[in-house]
Amino acid sequence: MKLKRGIPLIDQHDQYGFWGGKFGGSFIPETLKKPVDDLTNEFKKLRKDKKFLKKRDYYFKNYIGAPTSFVKLNNLTNQLGGAQIWAKVVSEANGGAHKIYNATVHALICKAMGKKYIVGDTGAGYAGKMLSMAAKKFGLKCKIFMGAKDIKRQKPNCDAMRKNGAEIVPVFSGSQTLVDAVSECMRYWVSNCDNTHMCVGSTVGPNIFVKICGWSTAQISRELKLQLKSEFKKIPNKIKLINCVGGGSSAYGFWSEFIDYNKKKIELIGVEAGGPKKSKLHAAPLSRKTKIGILHGAASYVCQNKEGQINETESISAGLDYPGVSPMHCFLKDTKRARYTYATDEEALNAHQMVTKYENLNPSLEPSHAFAEAIKIAPKLSKDTIIIVNSCGDAKKDRDILRERLGIK
């Protein structure tokens, strides 16, 4: 299994959609074969279409607000000693998280395909909120599938979705979280694929959805590459790019331009959700030894039992609370290009507290997992090491959880 150079990772799959011969694919019911093929062909066409690219860039700049800023966290750096800590503040994007890139692109594709309805899944509610925003912006009718448990714990985002005119469909099956929301959304698409476009909220699902999402979030690393060059004159020699990984859309987007670099120069570190310290449950398929399985139409490392039943997961952060992970991250793990670890709920909360105490930054619980790793390793590293954390979401949505766990208003 080998990574190729000079080819975007999203295109390094075989004819059946597998990365490294075993991750990804399209394990879908027959009914979805045609809509998935149609979407695949449309995307192939659109990504080469200059007009479409111009449109994308226009909305990325004027609607999403590209580029998001790249800042040094001086206080945190001084406090920890060791490596310099920087942040790519992706949470500045319209709506408050990286999910807006994928949502905007899907809305544009939906329009291009002449469909009027768009549906999507959501965990933390960001994917749903952004899809509802994009749907409103482009005049599409929108339905969001969301686990009943997540609806309760991410109320601010639900309010936003409703305000944007989207219908939230609560999902009561299974663990009532993201995994069930994705299943229910796919079921809905099976029944309505003739007039409805489906957006998968992360770099998961059948091959084409992994590709579209990765293609969309790659904007983050395109910006960062320019910002690094302008800040340091050239790409520095010791960089560590730290990103949380649930499905893996923000991590892929943060890394895509840098995968070709030597890992000694640019290390890629993915941080999964380790769950509560005292619980056996987690949402860390890459860093806590799981086997390959098929979930939601793709093969990836999956939290599952011996029989192949998908395990319940547990994490304080709804956005990372998912038993599977992007096939591209499985590929990056097995080729050893990226390193994956996890942070517990408690570590993420501590990191959130520390970052907000020293910096004018309010990372949500998802990137707080990445900050936890940065805080852990920074003191041991040299001063010329540049740690960059993708602060990919804003903590407004976590208001209720933070109040409960930390007493923060």
Partner: protein, 266 residues
């Protein structure tokens, strides 16, 4: 020698009616009960489909999901599914049984081991919901080698070219999904339309047995009786749920619904 599946269709044809295929979930609501149900309904059904439940079923509607979750909750394991099939075959050795489920269960068991186990348990066929053509080619070949029917699915969205290829690659039976829906949806397409599409599939190769499934209930079954076979799943699972809720005998209730279904297509 012709497969038991082929023979079942031939028997029905001789009686001038479509074959009746039932779907129940192994272990719903217990291992023992599901075997009893299976044995009892097989007196009226021509072919029995037995689901091996998965907890992330992306193509199943509410009724079958409920049955699947119930079976898993009551502790059903994949080896229990095989033992149910094997037990069933001890007394009903000429009644074809088809296992149906999602690919991850097979993948975790390992394809070869799974198929060996099927063979030992005298399973006649397999339907894997999320392993479409052409990805299923190698698995389907493995099935054939062991004398197990791999059943291809086609749907209203299947293109002409694709249909040709799928039929060419199919074994004795092809499953036509009546409409764009998960299992157990309300039949939203007219029977005439469904049969029109059915004929197009059938005309590709008359020797293949083509069954129609999804949305078939006591109300709709009669209108589709021109098909080679008709599958009823959700309506049966729903009856199991209702019987449990009313604390009634699931075996008797499910058997009588299957009997009624059969009478409607005689």
């Amino acid at each position: 020698m012709s497969s038991l599946i082929n023979q079942a269709f031939q028997n029905a044809r001789n009686e001038n009616r479509p074959a009746l295929l039932t779907y129940t979930v192994a272990g719903d609501n217990t291992k023992k009960k599901s075997l009893e149900i299976l044995k009892s309904i097989s007196n009226h059904a021509d072919i029995c489909e037995l689901g091996f439940p998965h907890n992330t079923p992306i193509a199943d509607g509410g009724q079958i999901q409920t049955s699947a979750y119930r079976a898993i909750k009551n502790g059903i394991k994949i080896n229990d599914v095989f033992s149910i099939a094997k037990d069933f075959k001890k007394t009903k050795k000429n009644k074809p049984i088809i296992l149906m489920g999602y690919y991850n269960m097979i993948f975790q068991y390992s394809e070869n081991k799974f198929l060996e186990k099927c063979k030992k348990s005298k399973v006649d066929g397999l339907i894997v919901v999320d392993l479409p053509y052409p990805e299923n080619k190698s698995f389907s070949t493995k099935c054939k080698k062991r004398g197990i029917n791999f059943i291809q699915l086609v749907s209203p969205t299947t293109s002409k070219i694709r249909l040709k290829k799928i039929i060419k690659d199919s074994h004795d039976m092809v499953y036509y999904i009546s409409m764009l829906s998960t299992t157990g949806g309300k039949l939203k397409v007219s029977s005439r339309k469904i049969l029109e599409r059915y004929s197009k599939i059938k005309n590709q190769n008359k020797s293949k047995n083509v069954v129609i499934g999804f949305g078939i209930t006591e109300k709709t079954i009669k209108s589709l009786k021109k098909a080679d076979g008709l599958v009823v799943g959700s309506a049966i699972c729903k009856e199991i749920t209702n019987s449990i809720n009313r604390r009634q005998n699931t075996v008797t209730n499910v058997t009588s619904i299957v009997k009624r279904l059969k009478n409607k297509i005689k």
